[in-house]
């Protein structure tokens, strides 16, 4: 029951304009509830949270905002502080979730920025269309997928998400609704892809979907016992398989043992598919549950199960692409202090650096079971600040244990820096300005395209901009 005296703006169409009420398109309701990123670290306080439900409300929000005060926010699936704006405001876009058009002949869909990839799949897969590129979770918004220029298991043949975006309509505080495509404002398109939400608020985007026969994937899993075998497997698979990725046991060091997963869309499978809804982690687990013994036990069991299992199977798209989506709020597993994800890319020529990285993580005993390894392809960068580049990318999760964890990650930074690699901003909560400079040496070229009213905790931290 609404036991309250606070005011709020109702659905505006219900308010008679003849009387003293709000004009249509009034700023969306605001609240001050707590917002966390997926890693639940750092814990930032925000001043206001705007929740526009319609694109016409964004104009008003932008007009009234101060310089550097806003940041668009989607599902909060960025791990660190790139989706946070401590002490300032967020514009939560999840209600901007309408499909504004679809061309069945070409597979181009025009969607508002708050629509989630899960929604896109739910609507378009029954029509025979799938996402051109999908990250490891479907619970991200279209706007977030563009702003982080996300990649997926098909990076080696499809590039990043941004490469499949034809056009973006961008709300800018300085020049209103701006259309960006390869013909119109191409630099702004390039800046917005991977632009961390700093170039404005995306109203809608035209994305190119991909024809598929159905929801099934012909998947294979192959155990490997060294980095060399992984690389051979990856090279051999890249031409034959659309999707490749590997899981490795973080305790095995440079003799990395792991499981290589690869797959293609199944061309004709008549199995019936029913979407399932998995369990939900209801509260934060105590942080001692994840320790080197429990993680080691999990890793050994995971390896053993997959190594023993049949290598080929037809699996549903959701268990192939989004295994973790089946446990809602799995991030609570890491307890109150949250966790840090560390994703870097290292050029393949610097394999010894990569081995040293693996060794150091294994020796620390601090990593967790979600370690993912993938060989990036050589697709040109879709955005100015896109992270993917040729090389090997690896992702570790580390439960946040204060300075101990931060020190380890700084030592990993050194290896990445010396090898000429990069750190992924969407996963980061702590990289130094110098590390950012190494990862994105031309970030200053991006600055002129920023919306003067946008800023983020991440941006202020790594660039020192006010």
């Amino acid at each position: 029951m609404n036991s309250t005296t606070q005011s709020s703006y109702g659905a505006p169409e219900t308010q008679p304009p003849t009387l003293t009420t709000l004009p249509q398109g009034s700023p969306a309701a605001q609240s001050t509830e707590r917002v966390l990123s997926w890693g639940r670290y750092p814990r930032a306080e925000h001043r206001q949270l705007f929740k526009p439900a319609w694109n016409d409300q964004i104009t008003e929000i932008l007009k009234d905002a101060a310089q550097g005060s806003l940041l668009p926010f989607g599902m909060g699936r960025s791990y660190g502080d790139s989706c946070l704006n401590a002490g300032r405001d967020l514009v939560q876009c999840h209600r901007l979730n309408r499909i504004l058009g679809f061309d069945e002949s070409t597979g181009v869909a025009r969607c508002e920025s708050g629509l989630t990839l899960a929604d896109i799949v739910a609507v378009f897969l029954p029509k025979g269309w799938f996402l051109p590129v999908t990250p490891g979770t479907s619970f991200v918004t279209l706007g977030g997928a563009i702003a982080n220029d996300v990649h997926g298991k098909n990076h080696h043949c499809a590039g990043t998400f941004g490469a499949h975006v034809h056009q973006i309509a961008l709300h800018r505080s300085d020049r209103g609704l701006t259309f960006c495509s390869s013909r119109e404002n191409p630099e702004m398109l390039c800046a917005t892809i991977g632009g961390l939400g700093l170039t404005g608020i995306i109203a809608w985007a035209d994305i190119q979907l991909k024809r598929v026969a159905g929801p099934w994937i012909n998947a294979e899993s192959i155990p490997f016992e060294s980095l060399k075998t992984f690389l051979d497997l990856s090279h051999d698979s890249n031409d034959l398989f659309e999707y490749t990725v590997a899981w490795i046991d973080c305790f095995s060091g440079k003799n990395a043992r792991g499981i290589f997963f690869r797959g293609n869309h199944a061309p004709n499978c008549q199995k019936k598919f029913r979407p399932k809804r998995g369990p939900k982690l209801p509260f934060e687990l105590p942080s001692w549950i994840l320790n080197r013994f429990s993680v080691r036990a999990f890793n050994t069991a995971f390896y053993a199960v997959h190594a023993a299992r049949k290598h080929r199977a037809v699996v549903a798209y959701d268990s192939f692409f989004y295994p973790l989506d089946s446990i809602r709020q799995w991030n609570l597993m890491y307890g109150r202090q949250g966790f840090l994800q560390y994703q870097c890319v290292i050029p393949e020529a610097k394999l010894e650096a990569f081995e040293e990285l693996l060794d150091r993580v294994a020796r620390s005993g601090m990593s967790s079971f979600l370690v993912v390894l993938k060989q990036f392809g050589s697709a040109p960068r879709a955005g100015m600040l896109s992270f993917p580049r040729p090389g090997l990318t690896i992702t570790f999760d580390f439960a946040m244990r204060g300075e101990l964890t931060l020190t380890l990650l700084r030592s990993l930074d050194e290896i990445v820096r010396e090898s000429g690699g990069a750190i992924y901003p969407a996963k980061d909560a702590r990289m130094s300005p110098a590390m950012f400079e190494t990862s994105f040496p031309s970030w200053r070229d991006f600055v002129p395209y920023m919306d003067p009213k946008m800023s983020s905790s991440f941006w202020r931290r790594v660039t020192g901009c006010p």
Binding site: M1, S3, S7, A53, R95, D103, R110, E112, L125
Partner: protein, 270 residues
């Protein structure tokens, strides 16, 4: 870019999505189609290939919703822009519906406004406005449609009121009395239309996360509009109860709240 005409494509991929099996085609008029709950109800109806006539104030918002619902599977989506709080515009809505959407079978009223209770205590203008939107205009337009359905001796009227209308509380009686009035109106209407076979459903949601409730304390604990919409769409099926509490626990909560004697209740800071 030009977009091809939208048509419901037959599911060729073998995917069985929830809710797509019980397809008793409906033709629904949604009054206040751009409200938070209405959007989700319409999406679930679109998924069942229903036909919809959307009525709301903003033509731009209606246009956005129209394509959204068509792509999601609605067989037909018409829109009509009108201000439902202006009773003078009601006749035009019925007229449009009778001409372009003649064999509609369900009228779903989903609009409402929740103004600040304290403002309503100090301003008669705000009080009157709130009663006018939530109660008077709703009763007016339902009366028009009731006459039409009664004449045809078939159909269904479903309207969203609120659990807040079950008992007056000091913190929210402005909104509560308007919605409570609407609940009583629907009760009488149900009885009147019963002989002609027209169903009347009173929908009483608990607090829902919509633009209307943003900024209220504990808003993060409110239920998702999708869940409420799911209950409402099921409630539109034949044979479901006259009064629909959603989520269902509110039926029991409100039963208990109504049992508290007034001498005690008036002392509670609710």
């Amino acid at each position: 870019m030009t977009y091809a005409a939208f048509s419901k494509t037959v599911d060729s991929s073998g995917i069985v999505m929830p809710g797509s099996s019980n397809t008793r085609m409906k033709k629904i008029i949604a009054l206040g189609a751009t409200s938070g709950i209405a959007i989700e109800v319409q999406r679930q109806l679109a998924h069942q290939a229903c036909e919809l006539l959307l009525v709301a104030r903003s033509p731009e918002r209606l246009a956005a919703l129209q394509t959204d619902l068509l792509v999601r599977g609605a067989r037909q989506v018409l829109t009509y822009s009108a201000d439902l709080s202006l009773i003078a515009q009601h006749a035009g809505i019925l007229d449009f519906a009778s001409r372009t959407f003649p064999d509609f079978d369900t009228v779903f009223l989903a609009y409402g406004s929740m103004r600040n209770q304290k403002d309503g205590e100090s301003s008669v203008e705000i009080l009157v406005e709130e009663l006018l939107v939530d109660f008077v205009s709703a009763a007016a337009i339902l009366t028009l449609f009731a006459a039409e359905l009664e004449r045809r001796r078939t159909g269904c009227i479903a309207a969203i009121t609120s659990v807040a209308g079950d008992r007056g509380r000091r913190s929210n009686y402005l909104y509560g009395s308007a919605k409570g009035g609407l609940s009583l109106f629907l009760q009488g209407l149900r009885s009147r239309l019963y002989p002609s076979g027209v169903r009347v459903i009173t929908i009483k949601p608990g607090p829902v996360q919509t633009p209307m409730t943003d900024g209220l304390p504990n808003a993060t604990h409110f239920v998702d509009p999708q869940q409420v919409a799911h209950d409402i769409v099921r409630g539109l099926e034949r044979g479901s109860p006259d009064i629909l509490y959603t989520p269902r626990i509110w039926r029991y909560i409100m039963t208990a709240v109504k049992l508290v004697p007034e001498t005690i209740f008036k002392r509670l800071p609710l």
